[in-house]
């Protein structure tokens, strides 16, 4: 059973989410993932880091990782590395771009294979996109204006039908 229109996220093991670093406590970073508790992320849980070679993470940075432990009794734990030790796309997200929040249902729709929205948007402008299951989306396009357009379209996609979206994109690309 999946809550589609919900905005509040509940951590689930294996989910890939975007977290915001709120504190550095010794060997562990504390991340805000939009749940009721902050998640912890060890500094060794990145690809290629050792005790000598620490990752360059500051408070306020964005991190894309998955939950290793997530149940209602314990504080959730995240890692940026998969079971074979490779990062497979996870890790610290770059400095530019914009982060915004949408409902959980829209994220699931966007993550579906061959999602039309993403395909249509990619024909509009080239951009980078990170989708967190906690409702957070990070977008980066070449200019601020393009990024803002993509942000607004994705936020409105929640309520637009496919037809309306096609028109909106047609107007933008024709402009």
């Amino acid at each position: 059973f999946v809550h589609r229109h919900r905005l509040q996220y509940v951590p689930v093991k294996g989910d890939h989410v975007i977290g915001i670093v709120t504190a550095k406590a010794g060997d562990v970073f504390k991340l805000d993932v939009g749940g009721s508790e902050q998640a912890s992320l060890s500094y060794l849980a990145f690809e290629g880091t050792t005790k000598r070679n620490r990752p360059n993470v500051q408070v306020g940075d964005l991190v894309y990782g998955q939950f290793l432990v997530a149940n209602k009794d314990m504080e959730p734990e995240m890692v940026c590395i998969d079971s074979s030790g490779r990062s497979s796309g996870m890790g610290i997200i770059g400095q530019d771009g914009f982060l915004f929040k949408v409902s959980l249902g829209l994220i699931r729709k966007l993550l579906a294979p061959k999602c039309e929205i993403i395909q249509e948007l990619s024909q509009l402008y080239p951009f980078e996109l990170v989708l967190g299951m906690n409702g957070r989306i990070w977008v980066k396009a070449k200019t601020v204006q393009q990024t803002l357009i993509i942000v607004n379209i994705l936020e409105a996609c929640e309520y637009m039908t496919a037809e309306q979206r096609k028109q909106a994109l047609a107007r933008l690309s024709g402009n």
Binding site: N152, Y159, T161, A168
Partner: protein, 440 residues
């Protein structure tokens, strides 16, 4: 609950966007968001929406003994509360700095400006005066609480009616609303706050900052003014060094904005009064639309209707004259008649009409907000074109279509017509916007 922290990425992006003079929702730097005022069933209750920021105001009154040092003046009490439903960072019962600052601003704006005549609230000098209490609740925080709260406060005070009182010697009679109509408060002027957010060390300003913009601003300037261009309160916070002509420019902008908002308030109050007098339906149940989770309503952008008449004329003159109409009705069976033949099946144009309908429907893309103007004028052209075989009436009233249900059993001769009509009727029900007034 703790508030979500602002990430470096967002901060950097917002500052960059501001450097390029862009706002997240596409507004210009002096643009206000849409202000919506709706009234409740009681007098003195209203909700003001400034974009997504919502404030609920409620005014109530009570007869109390006056303050000893002011025996002939009524008492005013203002209270603003930040409800936890407004933002995750707000907790009930905790006096945060923001709350104290907002409360002080509201007090200075409404009390010190002497917009309410307190002498008129006196019933018996030294013994009984009216205590007017204004409660403001923040329902949703999307930036610029102070503006929304000041508008809500003054609208509620203007809307409020206190019970009528008469004094005969020592006796004080308070009339119920059934006995005598309640009396409005005596309000001299309407002070309204306008906020300016400063960026780049005070060189760049934005009017009506949204929540994200408030997080990254350097400083805030609030000016409370009434429509007579009198400044009631001015407050600068955040430690930004402001130049003299910056402040003067802000006050000029405030005068313009306050004039617009005051006009809006007057209109809203008049509308509500009219509805109440005509015993129409009023109150929140009528004015606040049902917000369904599967529906999204965007405020439509202003449309340039300057040359709509010319365009309409053009379309009429270019249009073909209506095809020959046959006036005689054909009786198929008792109770079912047919007048005329119906226009040509335009199944292929379905997408165009679908597009029209979708554009007129509730959801409009935000990203195309700045192209809304172009789109809307295009729209009126398109609508005109598809109705070109009948006179175009650009009026609001549209009649629901009457769909004639045809009986299944019909002679072969009219079956072709039936099919045509059935296709047309199915298209009609699909495309409700089309009026089909057949010339008799």
């Amino acid at each position: 609950m703790k508030a979500t922290p602002l990430s470096n990425c967002e901060r950097r992006f917002l500052l960059r966007a501001i450097e390029e003079r862009k706002r997240l929702d596409g507004r210009q730097c002096y643009d206000y968001r849409n202000v919506r005022i709706s009234f409740g069933a009681d007098h003195g209750c209203c909700i003001v929406e400034l974009g997504k920021t919502r404030v609920l105001a409620q005014v109530s009154c009570e007869l109390v003994p006056p303050k000893p040092n002011r025996p002939t003046e009524g008492i005013l009490f203002f209270n603003l509360e930040l409800s936890p439903m407004a933002a995750p960072g707000f907790e009930p019962g905790r006096q945060s700095e923001l709350l104290v600052r907002l409360n002080r601003l509201i007090e200075r704006c409404l009390r010190n400006s002497k917009c309410i005549d307190t002498e008129s609230l006196c019933v018996v000098a030294g013994e009984k005066v009216w205590q007017i209490r204004l409660d403001l609740h923040l329902l949703n925080h999307d930036g610029n609480i102070i503006d929304a709260a000041s508008i809500a406060g003054i609208v509620a005070l203007c809307h409020f009616r206190r019970p009528d009182v008469s004094v005969q010697g020592e006796e004080v009679t308070v009339y119920t609303p059934e006995e005598r109509d309640p009396v409005p408060l005596s309000i001299h002027h309407m002070p309204i706050c306008v906020s300016f957010a400063f960026f780049q060390q005070g060189t760049y300003l934005l009017v009506d900052p949204s929540e994200r913009e408030e997080c990254v601003m350097d400083g805030l300037l609030v000016i409370a003014m009434n429509k007579h261009r009198e400044i009631c309160t001015i407050q600068s916070s955040g430690g930004v060094m402001l130049v003299k002509d910056q402040v003067l420019r802000c006050s000029k902008i405030t005068a313009v904005k306050v004039a617009e908002i005051t006009e809006l308030i007057q209109k809203a109050l008049e509308n509500d009064q009219k509805v109440r007098k005509e015993c129409g339906k009023f109150g929140f149940a009528e004015s606040i639309p049902n917000q369904k989770i599967t529906a999204f309503k965007m405020e439509s952008a202003a449309v340039d209707t300057n040359n709509v008449e010319e365009q309409a004329e053009e379309i009429i003159t270019k249009a073909d004259p209506p095809s020959e109409v046959c006036a005689k009705p054909i009786l198929h069976t008792p109770g079912t008649a047919q007048i005329g033949e119906g226009i040509e099946n335009s199944w292929g144009e379905l997408e165009e009409s679908e597009r029209e309908e979708a554009e007129e429907e509730e959801a409009e893309s935000e990203a195309a907000a700045f192209e809304c103007q172009k789109m809307e004028t295009e729209d009126t052209c398109m609508m005109g074109e598809t109705k070109k075989d009948e006179p175009i009436v650009l009026s609001d009233s549209e009649e629901e279509e009457v769909v004639v249900l045809e009986p299944q059993v019909l002679p072969r001769k009219t079956r072709a017509q039936t099919n045509l009509k059935q296709e047309n009727t199915s298209k009609k029900t699909f495309n409700k916007r089309r009026k089909k007034k057949r010339a008799a």
